[in-house]
């Protein structure tokens, strides 16, 4: 298991380095320079270039970029709010996004598993149909449509929750966004769990377990669920990514001061360093989640764990 985790972690770090390289290359190849101004004399430009380290050899520049990125220094914004360090944006906005995203994943996974298990165990009954319809609806409705509906019903009509995010009420005002974001996760997990569980329930080892008198809760908990969850865990990673992109729109609808909003603003204002920093943060999150999923996969499935870090993902 240790070898497996180490190998996965090493791959994650390598991926991250590659991403930093790509970001750097993209930035370097962007046309023009920040100092393209006819009013600046060549001497002034040279001074500015020296000040920002742009006169250094490209490898040294890359080294500095990497060093700064990994120490959390993403430079300053020059369009949204001039000369404010991007790290200060992040430190106020990232926790909000992460909290809402985390809540959505937990809620979606929890409800999805319950729906999927009920559907599989009550196969071919009204419960199964109900769960299936729910999950099809959940996959089909885009999260922003659902978000608008929630906002209208529970925010505007019933007034249970604030329509817009309020810093004073961090939990209440995150509820609607969480629910809107979790819908897709819930629906996908429910669908996968149902399919996988049905397949496992018709497998030989379940029959053999029954022939030894194992039944009911013990059968499901010990033999069926664990085997059914292996493929479910693998779909968690893409779902989390879906959640990130979904959050761009949902954060806007509920005015959540999160990174999704920041990215949209950065793109609209051509604030390159903000966009670069957020690309890095998103990549980091994604890689971290992949790593967690890989490790989870190994924990659940001994065939992966004991293959001494086999390159299966």
């Amino acid at each position: 298991m240790r070898a497996y985790i180490l190998k996965r972690a090493a791959i994650a770090v390598l991926t991250l380095l590659l991403i930093v390289l790509i970001l750097f290359v993209l930035m370097t190849f962007l046309p023009g320079s920040p100092f393209n101004d006819e009013r600046l004399s060549p001497e002034q430009i040279a001074t500015l270039r020296a000040r920002y380290g742009l006169d250094q050899p490209i490898l040294v520049q890359f080294w500095n970029f990497m060093k700064n990125t990994f120490s959390g220094d993403f430079g300053v914004s020059y369009a949204i709010q001039k000369n404010v360090p991007i790290s200060s944006f992040l430190s106020s906005r990232l926790p909000v996004s992460m909290r809402i995203g985390g809540q959505a994943i937990l809620l979606g996974t929890f409800l999805g598993l319950i729906l999927g298990i009920v559907a599989a165990l009550k196969h071919n009954t009204i419960w199964d149909t109900l769960c299936t319809v729910l999950s099809v609806v959940g996959v089909s409705i885009p999260s922003y449509v659902f978000a608008l509906g929630l906002s209208y019903l529970f925010g505007f009509k019933l007034k249970w929750f604030p329509i817009l995010y309020q810093d004073a009420l961090p939990f209440q005002s995150s509820v609607l966004a969480t629910v809107a974001l979790s819908l897709f996760t819930m629906a996908s997990i429910a669908r996968f769990t149902r399919t996988e569980l049905l397949e496992v329930l018709s497998s030989d080892y379940i029959l053999f377990a029954q022939s030894r008198g194992i039944d009911g809760f013990r059968l499901i908990a010990r033999h069926a669920l664990r085997n059914a969850l292996i493929p479910v865990v693998t779909v968690l990673a893409p779902l989390v990514v879906g959640l990130m992109t979904g959050s761009l729109v949902v954060e806007r609808i509920f005015s959540v001061p999160g990174v999704g909003q920041l990215l949209v603003e950065g793109i609209q204002a051509n604030d390159y360093s903000v966009v670069t920093a957020l690309s890095f943060v998103y990549s980091l999150l994604y890689i971290a989640i992949m790593l967690v999923v890989d490790i989870l996969y190994g924990v659940i499935d001994p065939r992966i764990r004991l293959a001494k870090g086999a390159s299966q993902s």
Binding site: H123, S203, L207, F208, A209, R212, G213, D215, R303, L306
Partner: protein, 359 residues
Amino acid sequence: MSELNNGQKSPQNEALWADDILLSVRNLSVRFKTSYGVVSAVRGVDFDLKKGKTLAIVGESGSGKSVTVKALAGLLGENASIESGSAVLSGPGGKKTELFGLKRREMRREINGKRIAMVFQDPMTSLDPTMPIGKQLMEGLRDHLGMGSAQARAEAVRLLSLVEIPEAESRMKSYPHQLSGGMRQRVVIAMALSCNPEILICDEPTTALDVTIQSRILELIQELQRKLGLSVIYITHDLGVVAKVADEIAVMYAGRVVERGLSDEIFYDPRHPYTWGLLLAMPDVEMDSGELYTIPGNPPNMVGETVGEPFAPRNEYALNIDFRREAPMFKVSETHFAATWLLHEKAPKVERPPRFAKP
């Protein structure tokens, strides 16, 4: 030759309900609801299993042999139903249990594993891939026999040694994928036997195994049978296996037992044309020609009702009546029965295949 009423407790049948009969199945019928219609997979099966003996149920795929034993173990799927029949399991002190009268829960708690255990065809898929074999073995011991953790562990190691797994102690932590096919089947057998069942049902126990392993697994089952006094039911289409292990044989075709008798009676004095075909299709060391006999045609589709003998279209010895009425069981000897009109007193004399000609 007298005609027996299927499934009725006629005096002759009653005589068979002797003390040494452990499991008595009468007139078992099972139907499946499928998208093609209702399939009569098992149609009035009768057989007895004697204490400490081995019964082999032989037939082609789709003959209903697996369905028969799954019905006995309460393992039929949701789309299957037992239409009729009884299966009486004799317990200590003459206590009789009607298996088909049990609720699923009672079946799992009282019968499965404790009195009737099963070994399935494919050891690659019979074990839970995510649980160490030791833990899987201990499961039954703890749930059914109420053993504590340490006691169950010791018993699991003993069971693994019993099925001749080397270094049983260190194998406890192995996962199924770390064992070879033969080893896995040994583990499956150990698990099946863990709660001291009286009956072991082996559903094609060697079909999925390497030929060199097959005979060793069969020998292991035979040895365990002697040691533990088990009664064994083999489900197989491999007559080689049958010849090696069976005391009694029931030949099934299209959901019915068409011939049953002692092993010698079936191998040396078979009466049903289907049994003739099966035996002729078996390769023989002393065979001179290179061509193997095959029964022409395919097993019938059992959707809906059938008229006449299901085997008649493939049967070169078929009489006119075979196409109109199914034959009842005719008695050949006290232990030997066959369902073919050829045994009727008015049937024309037919030449049997030379191999089975009476000396």
